[in-house]
């Protein structure tokens, strides 16, 4: 019964979406207030309907309702409850339902918290959002219905891929989707603005919190994915430039460009067409990502079950939404007045340079990912474009971006004094050069990018910190109100500083762990000892344990350094009973200087039966990546709470003033 309820709510949601996509927008042209205002309620109603559907599916997973095909294919009664719950979105159908749930949540959130936005604009935005909902709900109902029944119901399910039974992977998709789908509302804002034919700086201020929310989640989602790959896949890598990774990285790159160009539009009224284009492109790339992951167009390590039929449906969706919006852009954007004037040395130019680097980087990733498809289409030749290509082409851009973003915050709007800025921080340049030289002395064999990279990271960190110190007058005699001075800074400025510091950490972590990784592989028996990066590791044997739906062989490793006992590590090998597949669970000794990463496996060669294969990897500085990513997310969150965007303050306003008067311009 309950699956049918879910199905029914989905059908209702589709109908509501159709209404939401048409009524408000017609209302705007006909000046019909009721129709305009309907947008708000339709979006909320739709949110509740999809929520019911999602809950219904989740319930089927929790109670292991094996009359539902989706549950049969992806669950098992013996699975731990937590993984039954997260299993709801661990498969194609469920993940699309989650996708749609997040989509309508954003619509609902705009209805509730967007009261500072003019009702007409909001009605248009919600209408555009409605079109996207129509597309995806119908996609779900027609090609990937999660509530399909099966008869007769089997006794038990087929389990979930054991690699996916992991908490990191359980929260990674929702975060990633909040990022992807969050950009839908930014997209809707852009399309609505193009329909109105006007992009104002107020518009930029209204979209900014949504950009920030999406960007923050996307950053966190990508970082979590990388982290999951790092500790779960067992070879110590966190990024492989796989198509699936690339398609999540592209919206991030373009979204970051958008985040910065929107500032110029907000503060200076410039780059209007460009900001709108970036808003469209960011969501388009998210959609492209969804398409590539689910259509089997490219080969990838991690992807959903491939089905060309679904691919074609998504492709049609893409053609309509991306093609339509870009057509509208080509038609309307030329009439958007380009904004104010600024000197070639100014904050504006700095942000423009940032955009140049980020979009070039995105173009490289997009092109490299799709090139095998292009070439196969034209000449029939099959090639692979993998990590070497991306590393070679991406690294210079990344380092350039890292070193110029250090100066950006020093530049004043309109006209800045670059020579003055540089002379003020030239000592930082010298120190950073010194740091690079020192690293060169330590690691005479390079590689060059890593030696430069450490210098860039140091330069970015120090100059960002100095700029902030200057701004809050850290060493002002009046020490006591330092917190007041920090608090008096706009939240978005503090957020920027934190995020930029985060980038410097990420550069350091990426450089360290990819350039100076050390690895030792050996057969071991009880009592064997191995050395890596100063650690002495003793293999003390393997014991057998039983998990809820797997058997595990757990090794005990004693880790010592300079004769001192540090800790025991317990890497595992698990055999999942339902599917007969096995996984390795790495054990990691974490520290900021570097991780000691250990895995065990059985020898491939029967000659060595009875021994174990022990793999020790030392990953220097790798934790700076996760630290940096948390700084990015923290910076994003702090920026979202900036007073100018008035998130969460609307309720207060509503109580005191009639809504109509609140148009979000009062702090000008």
């Amino acid at each position: 019964m309950i699956p049918e309820l879910g199905q029914f709510s989905l059908v209702l949601a589709l109908l509501i979406a159709i209404a939401q996509s048409t009524l408000p927008i017609i209302g705007v042209t006909r000046e019909n207030t009721i129709w305009i205002n309907s947008a708000k309620y339709l979006a909320l109603l739709q949110f509740f309907l999809v929520l019911i559907a999602f809950m219904a599916l989740m319930r089927s997973y929790i109670v292991s309702d094996f009359t539902v095909t989706n549950v049969v294919n992806n669950s098992h009664s013996k699975k731990p409850l937590l993984y039954k719950i997260v299993g709801t979105w661990g498969n194609h159908e469920g993940s699309i339902l989650l996708w749609v749930l997040i989509l309508v949540s954003f619509g609902g959130a705009l209805s509730l918290f967007g009261s500072n936005i003019p009702t007409r604009l909001r009605a248009r935005v919600l209408s555009v959002q409605g079109w996207i909902c129509v597309g995806f709900i119908s996609f779900m109902l027609f090609t990937s219905n999660p509530f399909e029944r099966t008869f007769p119901p089997p006794l038990n399910g087929n389990d979930l891929n054991p690699l996916l039974q992991d908490i990191g992977l359980a929260i990674h998709p929702p975060l990633l989707y909040v990022g992807y789908v969050g950009f839908s509302i930014v997209f809707s804002f852009a399309v609505a603005a193009l329909m109105e034919g006007e992009v104002s700086s107020a518009w930029a201020r209204w979209v900014r919190p949504w950009i920030l929310i999406a960007w923050t989640s996307l950053s966190a989602g990508i970082a979590l994915g990388a982290w999951w790959a790092y500790y779960e896949l067992g070879w110590g890598g966190w990024w492989f430039w796989d198509p699936v990774e690339n398609v999540s990285f592209m919206p991030w790159l373009v979204g970051t460009a958008l985040l910065h160009s929107a500032i110029v539009t907000e503060k200076r009224g410039a780059f209007k067409a460009w900001t709108v284009l970036l808003a469209i492109l960011t969501f388009s790339l998210s959609l492209l990502g969804t398409f590539i992951v689910r259509s089997g167009l490219l080969t990838s390590v991690h992807s959903f079950a491939v089905d060309p039929e679904r691919g074609i449906y998504i492709l049609i969706l893409l053609a309509v939404s991306i093609g339509g919006s870009l057509l509208l852009f080509a038609y309307r954007a030329p009439s958007l007045e380009s904004g104010g004037l600024f000197s070639p040395i100014s904050r504006e130019s700095g942000l423009l340079l940032n955009n140049l680097f980020l979009t070039t980087a995105a173009a490289i990733v997009l092109f490299g990912t799709l090139y095998p498809l292009f070439l196969e289409g034209i000449t029939g030749e099959k090639i692979s474009v993998g990590p070497p290509f991306f590393n070679i082409s991406f690294t210079p851009i990344g380092l350039l971006l890292g070193s110029t973003m250090a100066i950006g915050p020093y530049l004043k709007w309109n006209r800045a004094d670059l020579a003055g800025v540089l002379s003020r921080i030239k000592f930082l340049i010298f120190i950073s050069l010194g740091v690079s030289l020192f690293v060169w002395y330590l690691k005479s064999s390079g590689p060059a990018f890593a030696i430069i990279g450490v210098g860039v990271s140091f330069w970015l960190f120090t100059s960002t910190f100095f700029e902030w110190m200057d701004r809050v007058r850290l060493f002002n005699k009046n020490y006591f109100n330092i917190f007041k001075r920090i608090k008096s800074q706009p939240r978005s400025a503090n957020g920027m500083t934190i995020a930029h510091l985060g980038m410097s950490f990420i550069i350091l972590g990426v450089v360290g762990s990819s350039a100076w990784k050390e690895e030792v592989i050996s057969f071991v028996e009880k009592g064997s000892q191995l050395k890596v990066a100063g650690f002495l590791v003793t293999f003390e044997g393997v014991s057998i344990h039983q998990g809820p739906n797997y058997n595990s062989e757990k090794a005990t490793l004693k880790v010592e350094k300079e004769g001192k006992f540090l800790e025991n590590l317990y890497p595992e090998r698990r055999l999942y009973l339902a599917t007969g597949t096995s996984t390795t669970e790495s054990a990691i000794r974490q520290s900021l200087a570097g991780d000691l990463y250990v895995t065990i496996s059985e020898p491939a060669n029967n000659k060595f039966k009875g021994k174990w294969v022990l793999r020790l990897i030392y990953e220097p500085l790798v934790n700076f990546i996760w630290l940096g990513a948390s700084f990015l997310a923290l910076g994003g969150i702090i920026s979202i709470t900036d007073r100018r965007y008035k998130i969460g303050r609307t309720f207060k306003y509503r109580r005191t003033k009639p809504i109509n008067k609140v148009v979000g311009l009062d702090n000008f």
């Binding site: 104002s200 070879w235 000197s343 340079l353 082409s393 390795t584």
Partner: protein, 158 residues
């Protein structure tokens, strides 16, 4: 479609049930220099039965054979280039993660520079157009008033 299904079946049966992790100790060469060259090469060679993985981290049997083969070639005195050629002769350019520069990949390899310089040209154009020295009427004050004017208008419309 059927074809793909059959391939999948083939691969399913080929995939070992047990997870063996990448390079095995008995493959490792005692000569550290050669070993590190072998690792470099195998990180750039695509595993032919996996989805998108280098043979260095793959646990399939063919990947293991190729890793051992690469080491044999190196021991026999082959240069890295010769080892790659040996592999390409058997499996084609498809197995190289770093596509060699040929006529059909020239566009791929020069594209990053091309895009970047195109971007620089556009950037210079935009900066020239926006430069205050370009237009005499510019002054900070007038720009700001114009800016808030448009906002006032918007307020009025509402």
């Amino acid at each position: 479609m059927n074809f793909i299904k059959f391939l999948l079946i083939t691969f399913l049966y080929l995939a070992p049930v047990d997870i063996i992790l990448a390079v095995e100790p008995d493959e490792v060469l005692t000569d550290l220099k050669l070993e590190s060259r072998a690792r470099d090469i195998s990180a750039n060679v695509r595993c032919v039965v996996c989805q998108n993985e280098p043979i260095d981290t793959s646990n399939s049997g063919v990947a293991r054979d190729l890793r051992i083969l690469i080491r044999e070639r190196l021991l026999a005195g082959d240069s890295n280039k010769e080892v790659y050629k040996y592999l390409v002769d058997r499996y084609g350019n498809f197995i190289l993660f770093k596509p060699p520069l040929t006529l059909s990949t020239a566009f791929l390899w020069f594209m990053p520079l091309l895009v970047f310089f195109l971007g620089v040209v556009i950037l210079v154009g935009v900066l020239k157009k926006a430069s205050p020295s370009n237009k005499s009427r510019f002054s900070n004050v007038s720009n700001d008033t114009k800016f808030s004017d448009s906002l006032e208008n918007k307020k009025g419309k509402k």
